[in-house]
């Protein structure tokens, strides 16, 4: 099968192209290296060998033109090797020009024999004659004399201004080879000389300096030249390709009386006849590699996936007591995994195939801008999925151009600011935490934040008072906003209008992200984070009406568990639609079951009808999940029956006949062989008729969730997870050697300065990596000293103080408070006290009698972190806990349900604790309800104020023992009172 497919691509012509491309890539690298290190002969040898092979190959299959040009190049390189010519930048320019031409000829090898190679031959001639070494800077012969060969055949003409610039095959080829700006320049030699004092040699020099002259033509208005000196006007048309943007081009050219026309649009017009064979995909750089159709690789991926399923089935049906069979299964298991891995790897290509083009781009740009820039590449061998690589091309080109244009200063400016005159642009790729990190770093002037501010105000993106509140980093990120395009920061890419926002959009499309770090006067670093592959993506597996669906994790912001109580409180009807109260905002809501039940997109009438229906049906009896989905810059909630977990899935395209169903983006085969549809966040939002604008006012409300600064202890326990504990909960941290841990029965003990501690290994209670028994280990001693238990950690990372936005829904487990993003990484927040009591339970050490017997406590706190901490503390003592964010919410809860105790913070938005207490005390129906103030403030004044407001007691946060004692005290007395009041209301 492979041979069959390969033979199609194995004709001698095709083989030649593949080989020639490899030689050309090699030549390009060698020429660039030669310019940097003219002394190193090895580059010359490489270059000679490649020229020679190319010449031989072309000659063998009868491509005479390519052979002649390659021969001329070979001779030129020999002259350099023999010392007859010095590889000055001008000489390198000539070689590169010829190289580009060969490249174009190879791409269109069918027509190459009729192609015109006069110009590259002409450019190589000074090298061959040894005159280039004597410092010929321009090519007066070729530019000043009227172009001998006008366009052989005119294939594209525009209608308006550019019509005066017919574009030949030659120009087109060269342009396709090196996409850049294409300009037409029209001038009158006489006018230039008289009006602008610019003489032909100067004009020729300037034309040469701003770009590459691709074609030119001169027209005499008077009698022919041999009849006497020319009479004005003497028109001259030139077509140039340049890396310079329009403004810079005009500025650098500096010929006021010349007319400049942009010509890219002419080329991009569709042609009636095929002009040149489309550029074949660049072959892999390694000689001796096979070219395999992507379809075949995909098929192999599928088969490998199927093998995994069969392996799973086989594992189930194998008798676990049968040792030989188990061994076979283990082999099958490891080989299956390796096969799947290998199939994935086949889609990978080294980043180098993309990076290789940048030294050339940087060189051309630098020469045209009059700067000195070196492009340094590291990590070219890092591999990325082919599709991602292709999508990355435009954003990277834009960023590199950006660095050249705006980042690196002119040499004299650099010297003034104490930097070396040669600027650096470093491109690097590396793998990091299952992602690929690509960095583009320049050592230029850095982002001009004042200019960004001015522009943001000008464009109406931000008000100046908003800008003042932004951090430097947030300011830098503004350039990624759509609509932020400054003449000073952003240029078009080949007229296609790729701005920084498009860079970001392109990256997001492939599940990547871009970060900017800028230091004034030191440079900018753009960091691109990309997934390794698109073929396998992490997804959330969920269920609606007994059917499973998957949603890509990158679309998901959060998952909210709605217990029947929560659902009643959090799902509201506003404007005749259902909305979700979430972190103090109202999010539009869709129920997946509803959305998929109708083919017609929802109208507001349908939404209202559904809302009424669900409202009438009353709250669900089973818990629901609300998945918060990002759709562009908006968010909405999707209600599903269950979240089954996460899965890495292989994406299969949706069947062509089903494409009109925009709520799906594809399908996948799950681990058990079943098929699940992949949902589209955007599609669902559109189908569900969600109008984000309606809720924009609500969304603009300040978050009622307060995010407070906290000091954390960040540590690792084993390799993987980042763990965090609030520093307040920690007494001290001690470094120990593993051998000091002693085993006594089934316990592990460590002696620290005469005190013996039980070692608590986290992996025994949570699904986290095991702590290795080597190197230095750390013991984290909890503040609560009553238990002599210490948590074992493998690495202490830091103790940062920073805002923590705790998410208590995404990861729920006993002993875990929740998760939060710390420094771009998900950290698991541990509940140390809970873990200690879990350890005690497991050791049946003084099994704690649970004092709370199902009594209900309402905890009111605006900080998710404390809310969770207090709730967990109470729950582990056996109480039932409901939480509210602030006073008004608490009162709503109190009216619906009966509680035995309210524990409330004092400082809260909307309705604070004091107002809450006053409200409760003045309202009938709450008589005798015990109220406890729990605050971080402990002054006498605060204490007396809270008692005045109606609290029964005022406790201080973090003092767990006295808090728990107060809870028991209040419940002991409160129970009598509340049950009495219950009786009286019933009577």
């Amino acid at each position: 099968m492979i041979e069959g497919r390969m033979s199609v691509e194995s004709s001698p012509g095709h083989r030649f192209i593949v080989e020639a491309k490899e030689h050309l890539a090699c030549m390009m690298t060698a020429v660039m290296a030669l310019e940097r290190n003219p002394e190193q002969r090895i580059h010359l040898e490489d270059l000679l060998r490649a020229c020679h092979s190319l010449k031989g190959g072309a000659g063998f299959i009868g491509l005479g033109t390519i052979e002649r040009l390659a021969h001329a190049m070979e001779t030129a390189v020999e002259r350099i090797r023999d010392g007859a010519t010095v590889p000055t930048p001008e000489v390198i320019d000539r070689l590169l020009f010829a190289l580009d031409r060969v490249n174009a000829l190879v791409d269109d090898s069918g027509h190459s024999s009729s192609a015109d190679i006069a110009e590259p031959m002409e450019r190589l001639r000074p090298i061959l004659e040894g005159t280039a070494a004597n410092g010929i800077t321009a090519m007066p012969e070729s530019t000043q004399k009227p172009s001998a060969a006008p366009a052989q055949s005119v294939i594209a003409r525009s209608v308006a201004g550019p019509s005066e610039f017919p574009i030949s095959h030659r120009v087109l080829d060269s342009f396709r080879q090196h996409p850049a700006f294409l300009y037409g320049v029209k001038l009158d030699w006489f006018q230039c000389e008289r009006a602008c004092q610019l003489f032909p040699t100067e004009i020729a020099r300037r034309l040469e300096s701003v770009g590459t002259l691709l074609d030119s033509r001169m027209q005499l208005s008077g009698p022919l030249l041999f009849a006497g000196p020319p009479v004005p006007p003497l028109w001259y048309w030139a077509i140039l390709s340049s890396q310079l943007g329009p403004d810079q081009f005009a500025q650098n050219l500096g010929i006021p009386c010349a007319v400049i026309v942009r010509l890219e649009s002419v080329i991009n017009e569709p042609h009636s006849e095929p002009v040149a064979a489309p550029t074949p995909p660049r072959p892999s750089a390694t000689v001796g590699s096979l070219r395999i159709p992507v379809a075949l690789i995909d098929r192999m991926m599928g088969l490998a996936g199927e093998l995994v399923l069969i392996r799973n089935q086989a594992t189930h049906s194998t008798d676990p007591t049968n040792a030989p069979a188990r061994q076979v299964m283990r082999r099958l298991d490891s080989i299956t995994n390796e096969l799947q891995d290998a199939a994935l790897r086949m889609r990978m290509q080294p980043v180098g195939t993309l990076f290789d083009r940048f030294p050339r781009l940087v060189r051309d740009l630098a020469r045209q801008l009059g700067k000195q820039i070196e492009c340094i590449i590291t990590g070219a061998e890092v591999e990325l999925d082919k599709t991602i690589l292709e999508m990355l091309s435009d954003p990277l080109t834009h960023l590199v151009r950006n660095c050249c244009d705006h980042g690196i200063e002119m040499p004299d400016q650099r010297l003034q600011s104490g930097k070396p005159p040669i600027g650096n642009i470093r491109l690097s790729a590396r793998q990091e935490r299952g992602q690929i990190l690509i960095e583009i770093r320049d050592d230029g002037r850095g982002l001009d934040r004042e200019a960004i501010k001015r522009k943001a105000v000008q464009q109406g993106l931000k008000r100046s008072d908003e800008l003042d509140r932004l951090s430097e980093r947030q300011l830098d990120d503004l350039i990624l906003l759509s609509g932020f395009s400054t003449a000073t920061r952003v240029t078009d890419l080949s007229g296609r209008g790729v701005g920084m926002d498009v860079v970001r959009a392109n990256l997001e499309q492939i599940g990547g992200a871009v970060e900017i770090a800028s230091a004034q006067g030191q440079g900018v670093t753009f960091s691109l984070r990309l997934p390794l592959t698109l073929a396998i993506i992490p997804c959330l597996l969920m269920q609606s009406n007994d059917q499973r669906f998957v949603l890509p994790q990158r679309d998901i912001e959060e998952i909210v568990l709605l217990r029947p109580d929560d659902a009643r409180l959090r799902i509201e009807c506003g404007n005749g639609e259902e909305v979700l109260r979430f972190r103090g905002r109202l999010l539009p809501l869709i129920r997946l079951g509803d959305a998929l039940a109708r083919r017609q997109p929802f109208t507001s009438a349908i939404r209202a009808e559904l809302a009424a229906h669900h409202h009438a049906a009353g709250p669900a009896t089973a818990p629901l999940y609300a998945v918060v989905i990002r759709a562009g810059s908006n968010r909405f909630g999707l209600i599903v029956d269950a979240v089954l977990g996460s899965a890495e899935i292989v994406v299969k395209p949706l069947h062509a006949l089903l494409r009109p169903l925009s709520v799906y983006t594809g399908a996948t085969i799950l681990g058990d062989g079943g098929v699940a549809l992949i949902l589209s966040g955007d599609g669902l939002a559109r189908h569900g008729g969600i109008t984000f604008g309606l809720h924009s006012e609500l969304a603009a409300l300040p978050e009622t969730e307060a995010i407070v600064n906290q000091t954390l202890l960040l540590f690792h326990c084993g390799a993987a997870e980042l763990l965090a504990i609030p520093l307040e909960a920690v007494r001290r941290v001690i470094m120990i050697q593993p051998h000091r841990i002693e085993r006594v029965g089934d316990r592990e003990l460590v002696d620290v300065n005469g005190t013996t501690f039980n070692v608590l290994r986290l992996e025994r209670f949570l699904n986290v990596a095991a702590c290795p028994d080597r190197g230095n280990l750390f013991l984290i001693l909890p503040r609560d000293a009553s238990a002599s238990v210490a948590l074992l950690a493998s690495d202490i990372i830091d103790t940062p103080t920073q805002p923590v936005n705790l998410d208590d829904k995404a990861y729920q487990a006993a002993g875990v408070l929740g998760t939060a993003t710390i420094r771009g990484q998900i950290a698991i927040f541990l509940d140390l006290a809970r873990l200690v009591s879990m350890w005690q339970m497991s050791q049946t050490l003084k099994p704690k009698a649970l004092p709370g017997s199902g009594q209900r406590i309402l905890v009111v706190d605006d900080t998710a972190f404390f809310r969770k901490l207090v709730a967990s503390c109470l729950e582990s003592a056996g109480y039932e806990v409901v939480t509210a964010c602030q006073g008004t919410e608490a009162i709503a809860f109190l009216k619906r349900d009966k509680f035995d105790l309210v524990v409330s913070d004092i400082e809260m938005p909307e309705m604070d604790g004091l107002a809450l207490a006053q409200h409760v005390r003045s309202d009938v129906g709450f008589e005798g309800l015990p109220l406890m103030a729990l605050s971080s403030l402990s002054s006498e004044e605060v204490r007396s104020r809270s008692l005045e407001a109606g609290f029964d007691t005022h406790e201080v946060k973090f003092d767990r023992d006295s808090f728990m004692a107060a809870v028991q005290r209040l419940l002991g007395s409160g129970r009598l009172r509340s049950s009495a009041s219950g009786d009286s209301t019933r009577a």
Binding site: G302, L303, G305, E306, L309, Q547, L596, A597, R598, R599, K652, H655, A656, L657, L658, P660, L661, V663, Y664, A667, I669, G673, G674, V675, A676, L677
Partner: protein, 160 residues
């Protein structure tokens, strides 16, 4: 008598199946395989013609319901039900679920009558989409030859 003279009359092969009791046939060249796979993932929002998605050897197939297409009701999956996978030339990754699978039969050309020709005169049938392209008179039965391409076009119209 020379043996060559009794060569069989030209015939065409059909894969037969039954739906609501009636006998249908598919030209054998249009069929890739017949499978007993009966596990389908429903595609909500899709027209009723779509039975669901099936995983056959890690390829995902779209399965249409012959019962729905041919005017009857959606057939239940029984031990006699079959998934007829169509040839790639008709549609990629497409199968048809039939209530009751049948044999492959050879029908002499003479017994095959063009249905479009016959139906053209019958204006009443224009109201419902017809997938029947030919009729075959068999012993004691009538087989309707259907064109799966027309079912695909019907789906394309219905899903828009």
């Amino acid at each position: 008598m020379p043996e060559l003279a009794i060569s069989k009359p030209p015939s065409r092969a059909f894969l037969t199946f039954r739906s609501s009791g009636r006998l249908y046939g598919l030209e054998i060249a249009q069929v890739r395989e017949v499978s007993m796979h009966m596990d389908f993932t429903p595609v909500l929002q899709a027209p009723s013609l779509v039975r669901g998605l099936a995983n056959l050897r890690s390829r995902i197939y779209l399965v249409l319901d012959a019962g729905m297409a041919l005017g009857g009701a959606s057939g239940s999956c029984t031990s006699e039900s079959r998934l007829i996978v169509l040839h790639e030339s008709i549609a990629k990754n497409l199968g048809i679920l039939v209530e009751q699978g049948g044999d492959i039969i050879q029908v002499p050309i003479g017994q095959i009558e063009d249905a479009d020709h016959a139906e053209a005169e019958n204006a009443s049938t224009q109201l419902t989409p017809t997938y029947v392209v030919a009729l075959c008179k068999l012993e004691g039965d009538m087989m309707m030859v259907i064109d799966p391409g027309r079912i695909v076009s019907a789906l394309e119209t219905a899903i828009r």
